[in-house]
Amino acid sequence: MTDLEEAIIIKNVLAGDAQAFSILVNTYKDMAVQLSYNILLNREDAEEAAQDAFVKCYQFLSTYKAEARFATWFYRIVVNTALNKRKLKKYYPEAINEAEGEEWGLLTDHHHEAVIKTEQKKFIQLALSSMNVRERLCLTLYYLNELSVKEIREITGIPPSNIKVLLFRGRKNFYQELQKHIKTEITSLL
Protein backbone atom coordinates (compact mmCIF):
# COMPACT_ATOMS: atom_id res chain seq x y z
CA MET A 1 0.00 0.00 0.00
CA THR A 2 1.38 3.40 -0.96
CA ASP A 3 1.55 6.41 1.36
CA LEU A 4 -1.12 8.11 -0.74
CA GLU A 5 -3.52 5.17 -0.42
CA GLU A 6 -2.91 5.12 3.31
CA ALA A 7 -3.61 8.84 3.52
CA ILE A 8 -6.93 8.36 1.71
CA ILE A 9 -7.93 5.49 4.00
CA ILE A 10 -7.05 7.55 7.09
CA LYS A 11 -9.07 10.47 5.75
CA ASN A 12 -12.06 8.17 5.20
CA VAL A 13 -11.78 6.70 8.69
CA LEU A 14 -11.64 10.18 10.20
CA ALA A 15 -14.69 11.11 8.15
CA GLY A 16 -16.59 8.34 9.94
CA ASP A 17 -16.06 5.30 7.70
CA ALA A 18 -15.02 2.76 10.35
CA GLN A 19 -15.03 -0.06 7.79
CA ALA A 20 -12.11 1.60 5.97
CA PHE A 21 -10.05 0.91 9.07
CA SER A 22 -10.24 -2.83 8.32
CA ILE A 23 -7.89 -2.25 5.35
CA LEU A 24 -5.25 -0.92 7.74
CA VAL A 25 -5.90 -3.81 10.13
CA ASN A 26 -5.45 -6.40 7.39
CA THR A 27 -2.28 -4.69 6.15
CA TYR A 28 -0.55 -4.41 9.51
CA LYS A 29 -2.01 -7.25 11.63
CA ASP A 30 0.78 -9.77 11.00
CA MET A 31 3.52 -7.24 11.63
CA ALA A 32 1.81 -6.04 14.81
CA VAL A 33 1.45 -9.58 16.17
CA GLN A 34 5.03 -10.48 15.24
CA LEU A 35 6.39 -7.35 16.91
CA SER A 36 4.31 -7.90 20.06
CA TYR A 37 5.28 -11.56 20.16
CA ASN A 38 8.98 -10.78 20.08
CA ILE A 39 8.52 -8.45 23.04
CA LEU A 40 6.15 -10.63 25.10
CA LEU A 41 7.12 -14.14 23.93
CA ASN A 42 3.56 -15.27 24.56
CA ARG A 43 1.14 -15.89 21.74
CA GLU A 44 -2.11 -14.93 23.49
CA ASP A 45 -0.66 -11.80 25.06
CA ALA A 46 0.88 -10.79 21.74
CA GLU A 47 -2.49 -10.99 19.98
CA GLU A 48 -4.15 -9.09 22.81
CA ALA A 49 -1.46 -6.37 22.75
CA ALA A 50 -1.73 -6.08 18.98
CA GLN A 51 -5.52 -5.72 19.23
CA ASP A 52 -5.16 -3.05 21.92
CA ALA A 53 -2.68 -1.23 19.70
CA PHE A 54 -5.16 -1.20 16.81
CA VAL A 55 -7.91 0.12 19.08
CA LYS A 56 -5.62 2.90 20.36
CA CYS A 57 -4.60 3.65 16.79
CA TYR A 58 -8.26 4.02 15.81
CA GLN A 59 -9.11 6.18 18.80
CA PHE A 60 -6.19 8.53 18.33
CA LEU A 61 -6.02 8.52 14.56
CA SER A 62 -6.90 12.22 14.50
CA THR A 63 -3.60 12.98 16.27
CA TYR A 64 -1.56 11.28 13.54
CA LYS A 65 0.42 13.81 11.56
CA ALA A 66 1.20 12.91 7.99
CA GLU A 67 4.80 14.16 8.38
CA ALA A 68 5.83 10.71 9.64
CA ARG A 69 5.09 7.39 7.95
CA PHE A 70 1.92 5.77 9.26
CA ALA A 71 3.81 2.50 9.82
CA THR A 72 6.36 4.22 12.06
CA TRP A 73 3.59 5.92 14.07
CA PHE A 74 1.65 2.67 14.41
CA TYR A 75 4.70 0.58 15.36
CA ARG A 76 5.40 3.04 18.16
CA ILE A 77 1.91 2.36 19.53
CA VAL A 78 2.47 -1.41 19.23
CA VAL A 79 5.85 -1.26 20.98
CA ASN A 80 4.55 0.94 23.81
CA THR A 81 1.44 -1.21 24.28
CA ALA A 82 3.46 -4.44 24.40
CA LEU A 83 6.09 -2.97 26.71
CA ASN A 84 3.38 -1.65 29.07
CA LYS A 85 1.73 -5.04 29.09
CA ARG A 86 5.05 -6.65 29.89
CA LYS A 87 5.67 -4.15 32.68
CA LEU A 88 2.21 -4.46 34.24
CA LYS A 89 2.21 -8.23 34.29
CA LYS A 90 4.67 -10.12 36.40
CA TYR A 91 5.93 -11.67 33.28
CA TYR A 92 6.25 -15.38 32.59
CA PRO A 93 6.70 -16.19 28.92
CA GLU A 94 4.68 -19.16 27.78
CA ALA A 95 6.24 -22.58 28.02
CA ILE A 96 7.87 -23.30 24.73
CA ASN A 97 5.67 -25.90 23.13
CA GLU A 98 6.83 -28.88 21.25
CA ALA A 99 6.94 -28.23 17.53
CA GLU A 100 3.49 -28.48 16.07
CA GLY A 101 4.58 -30.53 13.10
CA GLU A 102 4.49 -27.54 10.79
CA GLU A 103 6.56 -27.71 7.68
CA TRP A 104 8.47 -24.47 7.72
CA GLY A 105 10.95 -25.34 5.01
CA LEU A 106 12.65 -21.97 5.39
CA LEU A 107 16.27 -22.74 6.13
CA THR A 108 18.86 -23.23 3.49
CA ASP A 109 22.13 -23.28 5.43
CA HIS A 110 23.39 -26.83 5.97
CA HIS A 111 24.17 -26.04 9.59
CA HIS A 112 20.48 -25.51 10.31
CA GLU A 113 19.02 -28.28 8.19
CA ALA A 114 18.73 -30.58 11.18
CA VAL A 115 16.55 -27.96 12.82
CA ILE A 116 13.96 -28.09 10.03
CA LYS A 117 13.50 -31.79 10.54
CA THR A 118 13.13 -31.57 14.29
CA GLU A 119 11.85 -28.63 16.30
CA GLN A 120 12.84 -25.45 14.57
CA LYS A 121 10.23 -23.22 16.14
CA LYS A 122 11.01 -24.40 19.65
CA PHE A 123 14.74 -23.71 19.25
CA ILE A 124 14.15 -20.24 17.83
CA GLN A 125 11.77 -19.38 20.66
CA LEU A 126 14.27 -20.66 23.22
CA ALA A 127 17.02 -18.58 21.65
CA LEU A 128 14.79 -15.49 21.66
CA SER A 129 13.72 -16.01 25.26
CA SER A 130 17.33 -16.00 26.44
CA MET A 131 17.92 -12.59 24.87
CA ASN A 132 17.38 -9.08 26.21
CA VAL A 133 14.03 -7.51 25.26
CA ARG A 134 15.76 -4.51 23.67
CA GLU A 135 17.87 -6.79 21.48
CA ARG A 136 14.77 -8.74 20.41
CA LEU A 137 12.91 -5.53 19.67
CA CYS A 138 15.70 -4.05 17.53
CA LEU A 139 16.24 -7.36 15.70
CA THR A 140 12.53 -7.61 14.89
CA LEU A 141 12.21 -4.03 13.69
CA TYR A 142 15.39 -4.14 11.61
CA TYR A 143 15.55 -7.66 10.20
CA LEU A 144 11.88 -8.69 10.17
CA ASN A 145 10.05 -5.42 9.56
CA GLU A 146 12.97 -4.02 7.55
CA LEU A 147 12.90 -0.57 9.09
CA SER A 148 15.88 1.77 9.02
CA VAL A 149 17.94 2.69 12.08
CA LYS A 150 16.39 6.17 11.93
CA GLU A 151 12.86 4.72 12.01
CA ILE A 152 13.80 2.40 14.89
CA ARG A 153 15.07 5.44 16.78
CA GLU A 154 11.72 7.19 16.19
CA ILE A 155 9.82 4.15 17.45
CA THR A 156 11.93 3.16 20.45
CA GLY A 157 13.72 6.37 21.41
CA ILE A 158 17.04 4.49 21.55
CA PRO A 159 19.98 6.50 20.13
CA PRO A 160 21.23 5.23 16.72
CA SER A 161 24.66 4.25 18.06
CA ASN A 162 22.99 2.05 20.72
CA ILE A 163 20.67 0.53 18.11
CA LYS A 164 23.65 -0.52 16.00
CA VAL A 165 25.33 -2.08 19.04
CA LEU A 166 22.09 -3.88 20.00
CA LEU A 167 21.67 -5.18 16.45
CA PHE A 168 25.24 -6.43 16.24
CA ARG A 169 25.16 -8.00 19.71
CA GLY A 170 21.61 -9.31 19.34
CA ARG A 171 22.30 -11.06 16.05
CA LYS A 172 25.45 -12.65 17.46
CA ASN A 173 23.66 -13.72 20.67
CA PHE A 174 20.70 -15.12 18.73
CA TYR A 175 22.83 -17.40 16.57
CA GLN A 176 24.97 -18.44 19.55
CA GLU A 177 21.91 -19.31 21.62
CA LEU A 178 20.35 -21.17 18.71
CA GLN A 179 23.50 -23.24 18.24
CA LYS A 180 23.71 -23.89 21.97
CA HIS A 181 20.14 -25.22 22.13
CA ILE A 182 20.59 -27.38 19.05
CA LYS A 183 23.80 -28.86 20.46
CA THR A 184 22.11 -29.57 23.81
CA GLU A 185 19.24 -31.29 22.05
CA ILE A 186 21.57 -33.40 19.90
CA THR A 187 23.67 -34.34 22.96
CA SER A 188 20.57 -35.38 24.89
CA LEU A 189 19.42 -37.53 21.97
CA LEU A 190 22.79 -39.29 21.81
Binding site: K29, F60, T140, Y143, L144
Partner: protein, 125 residues
Protein backbone atom coordinates in the same frame (compact mmCIF):
# COMPACT_ATOMS: atom_id res chain seq x y z
CA UNK B 1 29.19 0.20 11.37
CA UNK B 2 27.15 -0.76 8.31
CA UNK B 3 24.31 -3.11 9.16
CA UNK B 4 23.60 -5.58 6.41
CA UNK B 5 20.26 -7.27 5.91
CA UNK B 6 20.05 -10.91 6.91
CA UNK B 7 17.33 -12.82 5.05
CA UNK B 8 18.15 -15.96 6.98
CA UNK B 9 17.52 -14.22 10.30
CA UNK B 10 14.33 -12.70 8.90
CA UNK B 11 13.00 -16.17 8.08
CA UNK B 12 13.92 -17.48 11.51
CA UNK B 13 12.18 -14.59 13.28
CA UNK B 14 9.16 -15.03 11.06
CA UNK B 15 9.05 -18.75 11.83
CA UNK B 16 9.08 -18.06 15.57
CA UNK B 17 6.44 -15.34 15.66
CA UNK B 18 4.07 -16.61 12.96
CA UNK B 19 1.07 -14.64 11.76
CA UNK B 20 -2.08 -13.19 13.29
CA UNK B 21 -4.86 -15.70 13.99
CA UNK B 22 -7.69 -15.97 11.39
CA UNK B 23 -10.24 -14.12 13.54
CA UNK B 24 -7.88 -11.30 14.46
CA UNK B 25 -9.18 -8.63 12.07
CA UNK B 26 -12.82 -9.39 12.94
CA UNK B 27 -12.07 -9.13 16.67
CA UNK B 28 -10.38 -5.77 16.17
CA UNK B 29 -13.21 -4.43 14.00
CA UNK B 30 -15.79 -5.57 16.55
CA UNK B 31 -14.01 -3.59 19.25
CA UNK B 32 -13.45 -0.61 16.96
CA UNK B 33 -17.12 -0.31 15.95
CA UNK B 34 -18.16 0.05 19.58
CA UNK B 35 -15.77 2.93 20.09
CA UNK B 36 -16.19 6.57 19.22
CA UNK B 37 -13.35 8.30 17.41
CA UNK B 38 -11.60 10.88 19.52
CA UNK B 39 -12.79 14.30 18.48
CA UNK B 40 -11.26 15.17 15.17
CA UNK B 41 -12.94 18.58 15.01
CA UNK B 42 -9.85 20.27 16.39
CA UNK B 43 -8.22 22.56 13.89
CA UNK B 44 -4.86 24.07 14.81
CA UNK B 45 -4.60 27.84 14.52
CA UNK B 46 -1.29 27.68 12.70
CA UNK B 47 0.34 25.00 10.53
CA UNK B 48 2.76 22.64 12.36
CA UNK B 49 5.82 24.21 10.71
CA UNK B 50 4.85 27.66 11.97
CA UNK B 51 4.12 26.19 15.38
CA UNK B 52 7.65 24.81 15.60
CA UNK B 53 9.10 28.10 14.39
CA UNK B 54 7.18 30.04 17.05
CA UNK B 55 8.25 27.60 19.72
CA UNK B 56 11.87 27.89 18.67
CA UNK B 57 11.71 31.70 18.64
CA UNK B 58 10.09 31.69 22.07
CA UNK B 59 12.76 29.37 23.49
CA UNK B 60 15.58 31.49 22.05
CA UNK B 61 14.00 34.62 23.51
CA UNK B 62 13.59 33.07 26.96
CA UNK B 63 17.13 31.70 26.89
CA UNK B 64 18.55 35.09 25.82
CA UNK B 65 16.68 36.89 28.62
CA UNK B 66 17.86 34.36 31.21
CA UNK B 67 21.42 34.59 29.94
CA UNK B 68 21.34 38.40 30.09
CA UNK B 69 19.94 38.31 33.63
CA UNK B 70 22.69 35.92 34.65
CA UNK B 71 25.48 37.91 33.01
CA UNK B 72 24.28 41.28 34.37
CA UNK B 73 23.79 39.90 37.87
CA UNK B 74 27.13 38.14 37.92
CA UNK B 75 28.99 41.19 36.62
CA UNK B 76 27.63 43.25 39.56
CA UNK B 77 28.43 40.73 42.23
CA UNK B 78 32.12 41.56 42.54
CA UNK B 79 33.45 38.21 43.71
CA UNK B 80 36.72 39.70 44.99
CA UNK B 81 34.86 41.21 47.94
CA UNK B 82 33.55 37.77 48.88
CA UNK B 83 37.03 36.43 49.21
CA UNK B 84 38.75 38.98 51.42
CA UNK B 85 41.28 36.50 52.73
CA UNK B 86 42.68 35.83 49.31
CA UNK B 87 44.73 38.49 47.70
CA UNK B 88 43.73 38.11 44.06
CA UNK B 89 45.09 40.84 41.92
CA UNK B 90 43.88 39.31 38.66
CA UNK B 91 41.59 41.92 37.03
CA UNK B 92 39.41 39.42 35.13
CA UNK B 93 38.50 37.24 38.13
CA UNK B 94 34.80 38.17 38.01
CA UNK B 95 34.59 37.22 34.36
CA UNK B 96 36.36 33.91 34.93
CA UNK B 97 34.00 32.96 37.77
CA UNK B 98 30.95 34.07 35.75
CA UNK B 99 32.16 31.99 32.81
CA UNK B 100 32.65 28.91 35.00
CA UNK B 101 29.16 29.23 36.51
CA UNK B 102 27.48 29.69 33.11
CA UNK B 103 29.51 26.82 31.65
CA UNK B 104 28.42 24.40 34.38
CA UNK B 105 24.78 25.49 34.20
CA UNK B 106 24.63 24.91 30.43
CA UNK B 107 26.61 21.68 30.73
CA UNK B 108 24.22 20.35 33.39
CA UNK B 109 21.11 21.27 31.37
CA UNK B 110 22.58 19.59 28.28
CA UNK B 111 23.46 16.44 30.23
CA UNK B 112 19.96 16.30 31.78
CA UNK B 113 18.30 16.65 28.37
CA UNK B 114 20.57 13.95 26.91
CA UNK B 115 19.72 11.54 29.74
CA UNK B 116 15.98 12.06 29.32
CA UNK B 117 16.10 10.66 25.78
CA UNK B 118 17.27 7.24 26.90
CA UNK B 119 15.78 7.18 30.42
CA UNK B 120 12.52 5.55 29.31
CA UNK B 121 14.37 2.66 27.75
CA UNK B 122 17.00 2.02 30.40
CA UNK B 123 15.01 -0.74 32.06
CA UNK B 124 16.69 -3.95 31.02
CA UNK B 125 15.33 -7.40 30.50
Amino acid sequence: MIMEKDEHLKKLLLAASGEASPGFADAVMKRVKDLPLQSSGYQPLVPPKWERLFLMAFCILVFAILLLILVITLSNLNFEKWLPGLAFSFPGLDKVIAFLIIFWVIFSVNAALGNRQTASFRRGK
